[in-house]
């Protein structure tokens, strides 16, 4: 049996070495924009769905926060067991962190007829390791065939960043944009009809806040969307502000509603911000966080016993 195991091990080691060599040499060509989210722990996180993923660039924030964009999509990272456990693993658990939690009604929803947590079957749900570099488990589970994913022929409209931020390229024609926006309206109208806000997801949102508060300040944020989509989501979840007010009081946290500051943002598809707009929004949010952190520090200093 020893001979058998040695032979198999040698064979696999040779093959893995060749693959590892290719992956290491060509890792920058890997088309997967989410790959960088599975490599290492970070002090501070941006949490949420694709709205936050495509809108908030950590490079706009001070380096002292070590802020990382750990938002995916409403299908992969809605609030639930999977995302909660991933967040727990993802942070370094150092004090003085900041956590920006994007509130998106569709990341707090479940299907009315089939209330199934479908994220369990998506990449994050199927992943065991989220802080390994290089992450072969992620590469093999999500990027096969490897030859194709590492030598992309098709042009992607997304650019990945090491800080987790996914940049959307505005390479759609105006006609295509109109078409895509129509589809988005139909999609969100359909979701608003078929889905409902889930008590269990709200529970996990609160558990996430409670957990993260041990290591730093938690901020709830709303990434701006187009007025057309905003109207749909307001109708879908009218109690949203009441609920957020409740969270603010219960956990003594701040809510930054950027829809007020950017009521008509430039979007590609009514939901996701154009690159320039995301830069403006990220800079605005960065300044806001800095001032709030400074006021917290001031309050902390002035209220400290002398």
């Amino acid at each position: 049996m020893r001979k058998f195991i040695i032979k198999i091990s040698i064979l696999l080691a040779i093959c893995f070495s060749i693959i590892a060599f290719i992956i290491d040499a060509k890792i920058n060509l890997l088309r997967d924009v989410n790959y960088s989210k599975y490599l290492s722990k970070h002090k501070s996180l941006i949490i949420g769905t694709s709205r936050s993923n495509f809108a908030i660039d950590p490079s706009s924030f001070s380096e002292k926060y070590d802020l990382f964009n750990f938002a995916f999509t409403a299908a992969t990272s809605p609030f639930g067991k999977i995302y909660y456990e991933a967040i727990q693993d993802k942070i370094t658990k150092e004090k003085g962190a900041i956590f920006l939690i994007g509130i998106d009604p569709y990341g707090l929803s479940l299907d009315k007829k089939e209330p199934i947590f479908t994220e369990e079957k998506n990449s994050l749900g199927r992943q065991f390791t989220i802080n390994v570099n290089p992450n072969y488990e992620y590469i093999f589970k999500n990027n096969t065939p490897l030859y194709d994913r590492m030598f992309p022929a098709a042009k992607s409209n997304k650019i990945k960043h090491e800080n987790g931020f996914t940049q959307l390229k505005d390479n759609l024609s105006e006609e295509r944009k109109i078409e895509v926006r129509k589809i988005k309206i139909l999609e969100y109208t359909g979701s608003s009809h078929n889905d409902t806000i889930s008590a269990e997801r709200l529970g996990y949102l609160e558990k996430t806040i409670e957990f993260l508060q041990q290591y730093g300040n938690v901020y709830l944020i709303s990434v701006p969307v187009s007025p057309e989509l905003f109207a749909i989501q307001e109708k879908y979840w009218p109690q949203r502000y009441q609920y957020i007010e409740g969270l603010k009081k219960k956990y003594k946290i701040q809510y930054i509603n950027m829809q007020i500051n950017f009521p008509n943002p430039k979007t590609i598809d009514y939901v996701h911000l154009e690159l320039e707009q995301s830069k403006v929004v990220s800079d605005f949010l960065s300044r806001k966080i800095d001032s709030l952190e400074a006021s917290f520090a001031h309050t902390h200093i002035t209220s400290s016993p002398k």
């Binding site: 001979k3 058998f4 064979l11 093959c15 693959i19 589970k141 096969t144 065939p145 490897l146």
Partner: protein, 477 residues
């Protein structure tokens, strides 16, 4: 847990190491626990279903053996058959059955509304039900002894390498193997590993590569015609072969690692020169099951000629229905039944032309007809299948080389790769057909070249293979 998943490649070595490190008397318990865990990875609740089938058949067989009268034996056997087929009927055929009744009565303007159950078909139910069923029938016929050890019997029903898609084993063959406390067998383990690699190659490099093209064309028969439809149909023939025989190779290979050889399920079926030969080479364990438990009880060939042809036809019809609750499967079964019966009829008249140069032609002809059968097998309805065949007949010469590799269907590189890998597989199979023992031939190649070949295969699987995308096609049955 799919055979082509990372989880399985952690699970299998772990089972392998634990199995050989445990004392012989505890190994069955390990395999049973691992098999139940393997099944529960799909749906935890369905473990109760397989356990119920196990309990019923375990006690039925003992009662059959203990019964003093023939009628008592019969009663217990019918109880086993009725409960097994009842479970299978409910999960697999109930909605089809009620829909068909509603449709039939609708013709006479009689409106009925049966309840429609939205149930998920338990993975592998047809396979383990048939395996378990064969056991009680064998005990009834006196061909097998009732197993008294519940653990071994439960393992026979749920043995993980062949639980979800066969090969379907007989109790008289598998239970003694499960009881064997075999030491590690180097040659068997090496051949098992090679089979696993071959199975993975077929599944991840070929079958899952063909899948998008096949789905794009055959799921939208209105949108394509001519060459792309023919290419998609040929691709489906290779997809289903590589998917199912790839699964079986991994199943047999996994079992060989545990020192237990399972029966062969495929033997180069697309190199058959007749339909009868095709069914001796395709899904051999199921064909044998239908031969032993349907065809022979019907009288087999020990009856009048006309009755013999009817027996053949009925056997294939039931086999079609086994595959799924849809008229497409019934048609597919009936078509093969008619072909095999016709062949049998011609063989009676001794109409045989045996020129060796005709054999390749016969192989191509059989493959072409099998292909038509696969169109029905793959289509959502008979109408769709007929539409696909109609669309395939609209061939325009200018399509060759242009639409055949239409980038809107699938990326051209993927198509070229598919063709290259299918060709390599066929070369390998033809070599196997001619040499009989290709494994021995490979082992005689010089060391460096042989290892180069192994490395190339494993590297191709890792670098070009598609993982975690599609389930195995036969899991739905």
């Amino acid at each position: 847990m799919l055979f082509n998943s990372l989880e399985y490649f952690l699970f299998l070595p772990l089972v392998f190491l634990l199995y050989y490190s445990l004392p012989g008397k505890y190994r069955w318990a390990l395999l049973l626990a691992c098999s139940y865990y393997f099944y529960m990875c799909w749906e935890v609740n369905y473990i109760f279903l397989i356990f119920t089938s196990t309990l019923i058949d375990y006690f039925s067989a003992i009662k059959i053996e203990q019964a003093s009268s023939k009628s008592a034996k019969k009663t217990w056997m019918f109880l086993s058959i009725a409960s097994n087929l009842g479970i299978l009927f409910f999960f697999k055929y109930f909605n089809f059955f009620t829909d068909t009744i509603e449709l039939s009565l609708g013709v006479f303007n009689i409106k009925t509304a049966f309840p429609d159950f939205d149930i998920l078909l338990p993975v592998g139910i047809s396979f383990y039900t048939f395996q378990s069923l064969s056991y009680t029938i064998d005990v009834y016929k006196g061909e097998s002894k009732a197993e008294r050890h519940f653990g071994y019997f439960a393992l026979f029903v749920s043995y993980f390498p062949q639980l979800v898609a066969g090969p379907i084993e007989k109790a008289s063959r598998l239970i003694p193997k499960l009881k064997e406390v075999n030491p590690f067998n180097y040659d068997l383990a090496v051949s098992g590993t090679k089979l696993i690699a071959l199975g993975l190659f077929k599944k991840t490099v070929i079958a899952d590569r063909l899948s998008p093209y096949v789905a794009m064309v055959l799921d939208h028969p209105n949108d394509y015609q001519g060459i792309p439809v023919i290419v998609a149909s040929v691709f489906f023939a290779f997809q289903i072969y590589c998917d199912f025989s790839g699964y079986t190779d991994i199943a047999i290979g996994s079992s060989r690692l545990l020192g237990k050889n399972l029966i062969k399920n495929f033997n180069l079926p697309y190199l058959s020169a007749s339909f009868t030969e095709f069914w001796k080479r395709w899904h051999i364990s199921l064909s044998s099951w239908f031969r032993d438990y349907v065809y022979i009880p019907l009288g087999g060939n020990k009856v009048s000629s006309s009755r013999h042809y009817i027996n053949l036809f009925i056997t294939f019809l039931v086999s079609g229905l086994w595959h799924g609750a849809n008229f497409t499967f019934i048609f597919w079964g009936a078509m093969h039944g008619a072909l095999v019966a016709t062949e049998s009829l011609f063989s009676k008249f001794k109409i045989q032309i045996n020129f060796s140069f005709l054999k390749p032609l016969k192989i191509v002809l059989v493959f072409a007809v099998v292909l038509i059968g696969w169109v029905f097998f793959r289509a959502a309805s008979i109408d769709d299948a007929l539409l696909i065949l109609k669309q395939a007949s609209h061939i325009e010469m200018q399509q060759i080389g242009i639409y055949m590799f239409d980038a809107s269907i699938c990326r051209v590189e993927e198509l070229y790769l598919s063709i290259v890998f299918i060709s390599l597989l066929m070369i390998f199979e033809i070599a196997q057909y001619r040499m009989q023992n290709i494994g021995k031939a490979i082992s005689q190649i010089p060391f460096a070249l042989r290892w180069g070949f192994y490395i190339a295969i494993v590297f191709t699987i890792m670098f070009v293979g598609i993982f975690e995308k599609d389930q195995f096609i036969y899991f739905q049955f």
